[in-house]
Amino acid sequence: MTELYEELGLTEDEYRDIIRILGREPSKVELGMYSLMWSEHCSYKSSKPVLSQLPTRASYVLQGPGENAGIIDIGGGLAAAFKMESHNHPSAVEPYQGAATGIGGIVRDIFTMGARPIACLDPLRFGSLESPRQRYLFSGVVAGIAGYGNCLGIPTVGGDIYFDECYDGNILVNVMAIGIMPKENLIRGQATGVGNAVVLMGNRTGRDGIGGASILASQEFDETSQEKRPSVQVGDPFTEKLLIEACLELLEKNLLVGLQDLGAAGISCACSETAARGGVGMKIELKNVPLREEMDPFEIMISESQERMLAIVEPRKLDEVLATCERWGLPAVVIGEVTEGDMLEIYWYGEKVVEVPASSLASGPVYERAAERPAYLDEVQSADLAALEHPSDLNRVLLDLVSGPNLCDKRLVYEQYDHMVQLNTVVYPGSDAAVLRVKGTSKALAVSVDGNSRYVYLDPYGGTQIAVAEAARNVVAAGGVPMALTNCLNFGNPERPDIFWQFKESVRGLADAARHMELPVVSGNVSFYNESFGTAIYPTPVVGMVGLIGTLSTRRTIAFPEEGLVVAMLGDTLDELGGSEYLRLVHGMTAGRPPALDLEVEKSVQTTCIEGIRRGIILSAHDCSEGGAAVALLECCCAGGVGATLEVDTPLQPVSWLFSESQSRFVVTLREEDLGALEDLAASRQVRVYALGRTGGSRLIVGDWIDLGVDEMKAVREEALGRLLKG
C-alpha cells in the first residue's frame, strides 16, 4: 500500500523531515499543507539555488524578489510594481478559464503590493495551428484573457505569440501585470502585531482546483468520490474588480498592516507566508471561512478558489475595514488573529487540526539537482547551413514569412483586448513596446516581453541573453531607458539532468545579461514539468522589461512617419541564419547557432538609439528580430502606410542580409540633415550607421531583391492569422 505522503507527492525524506520538525506524525491536514507548500511550484526547491545568482539590486529597486511583485522607484514619489507568472497547465485543461484565472492571479499580485494595476501583457506559446485542438486552445486562451482583463478595466497592451510543434503537448500561457502607486502606499505580505485580526475577503471558498491529481488519488474511493473531484477554477472578474477597488481604498485610508493574495495553496500559503515573513504565529478558526459548499478542513486549507485576499488588521480599525468591504459588496470575515511565536494553529469548530511552525511551511527543502549537457546540442549546432540552396524569389519568401503564424499581424488578438481603457496607452499594440503615460507627470513607461525559445533550445546560455537584450531593445526603440525586468522560466522536468542543465545555463545567461546591462531582476516565476509523454517543450525563458521615458514627446513607434526621410540601419548585419524564422519556414530546420550577442555592442547600439531619440534625430525606430531586416522594414512600411526605396551594399548573399537575425540592430528614420549628427553619435560608441535610402511611395523596394506594394504586404500580414485559425 502506498503511503498518503507519497500520494500527495512528498518523498520519504521529506516526510521524515516533517516528522523531525513536528516531533510527531503529521495529521492529514498538516500533511496536505506540507505537500502543497513544499511542491516545486510553491517552494522553488529545485530552482532556488540557481536563481540566487540573479542580480536583484539597484538604487531604484524598492522591492526585489521574495514578495508578490517587484517594485521600482520611477521618481516623483511614484513606484511601479510588476511581475510575470505562468498558468500553463490550467490553460491546457480549460483554456478560457485557465487563462482568465491567470490574469486574475497576476493582477492580485500587483494590487496586493498597494499598486493600481495599469496594464497586462500576455506571452503565449502554442503548437501548430494545423491541429484543431491547438486552434481551440488558442481561441479559448485569447478569449479568456480578454474576458477577464477587459472586465477589470486593465488594458492588455502587449505580449507575444509563437507557434511551434514543441508546444503541441504543452502550451504556455504566461501573464505579466504592472501597477503604479505612490511610494508611501507600498505594503507587504506580512503579518505583524500580536492580536491583530486576520481577515479573509472576497469570494466564498469552494472545492476549486483542490490539489490536482495527487490529492485526488489520495481520497478514499467511495460513492462520494465523484463529488469530491476537484473542480476547474472559474474566474469571477467582477469580484476581482471589487477587490481591487476595496483593497486600494483600504490602503489609501491606511487601514491595513499587511495584505496577501490567495493563489496556489490558498489559505495554507497565505497564512504561512504572511506569518513567516512577519516572524509571528497565527491562530485560525476555519468554521468562519465562508463556504460555497460543504467542505472539510483539509479541503478548505488547500482550496484554490479565486478572488480572495487575506488582510492583517489592527482591532481598532476592524470595523472600518469591514464597513468598506461591505460598501463594495464584498464578503469579509475575521478568520483568526496574529499570535506570538511562530506557530500556525488551525481550528475546526474549536478542535485543533493543525499546529506547525509557519516558517517550516514557507521555507521548504532545497535540492541541488544533477545537470548534464544534452546530447542533441552538438547535432543541431553543427548543422551545415553553408550547403543550403536558397530560393530566388525573395518577394515570395518575404510574403511567406509574414503570412506565417509567428510573424503575421496579431491584430486579431489584441483587438479582442481592451488596450485603451484607463487612457494611459499612448503607443498601442503593434509596435516594439507599448507605452503607458504616467498621468500627472510628463513621463511614461515602455514595456515589452520577449523570449525566442528556438534560440534557447539551440543555445540555452546565449539564447537567454538574447531574450534580455531584445526585451531591452524593444523598450529602447520606443524611446525608453530600460530599468528592470521580470521573467517567467518555462522548462521541462527538473529531475532530468538534461533539462536541468538547460535551466542552469539559461539562468546563467539571464544573470550575466542582466548584470552586464545593469538591469535588476525584481520578480519572476519558474514553471517546471512542461512536458507531455516524456517530451519537454523547448526551454522557454520569457523576459518582461520595463523602461522609463523621461518626456512623453520622445516616445517613438516603428512606423515610417512620413515621406522623404532617410532610412538607416544601426548596427552590423552578419551571415547568421542559424535558428532563424527563415530557416524554419523555407528549409524546415531548427538548427545552427542562434545569432551571436556581444553585450558591449548591444549596450552601445542601444545607447546610440536612445541618444538619437532624445536629441530628436531619430524619428522612428524598430529593432530587427525574427525575420531579420526584411521583415523589420516591411513592418515599418505597413505601420506607417509609407513605402521606401533602398539600396544595400553588402558582401553577404541576399538571403543573409535580408533574413539573418543578427542582434543589436535598429531600423531608424531621420531627416537628411541629421545624418551626420547620428553618425557622430554612433561613431563615438563604435557603432556603424548604414544609410539605406529614403521613405516614400507605396512600395518597399530593396535593390533588385524586394519590390512589393505596401497595401499588398499589409493585406497579406493582416489576413494570415484569421485564415490559419479557420484551419
Binding site: N203, R207, Q233, V234, F238, R292
Partner: protein, 80 residues
C-alpha cells in the same frame, strides 16, 4: 425535428452569473430565492435525419462543441 439541449454549470463549479442574479433578485425583494444557476438553453432544428441516429449525433455535437464537459453538464431532449 426539434431538439432541446440544457447546459448547466457542473455542481461545485463557481457560477458567477448565477451568483450575481441571486444577489439582484434578493435586493429586488425576492427573498425566497435560495440559489440561482445559469446555463444555456440550445434549440436545434434537424433536417433529413434518421430518427434512430439523431440522438447519438446530438450527443456528439454536445461533446464536441455545444457544451464544455469540463465545467458543464448537459441534457438532451428529442422532439418538442
Amino acid at each position: 425535428m426539434k431538439v432541446s439541449i440544457y447546459v448547466s454549470p457542473k455542481k461545485g463549479v463557481l457560477d458567477p452569473a448565477g451568483q450575481a442574479a441571486l444577489g439582484a433578485l434578493k435586493s429586488l425583494g425576492f427573498g425566497e430565492v435560495a440559489d440561482v444557476r445559469i446555463g444555456k438553453y440550445i434549440i436545434l432544428r434537424l433536417e433529413d435525419i434518421d430518427a434512430g441516429k439523431a440522438e447519438d449525433r446530438v450527443q456528439e455535437m454536445c461533446e464536441r462543441l455545444l457544451a464544455n464537459p469540463i465545467i458543464e453538464d448537459y441534457r438532451i431532449e428529442m422532439g418538442d
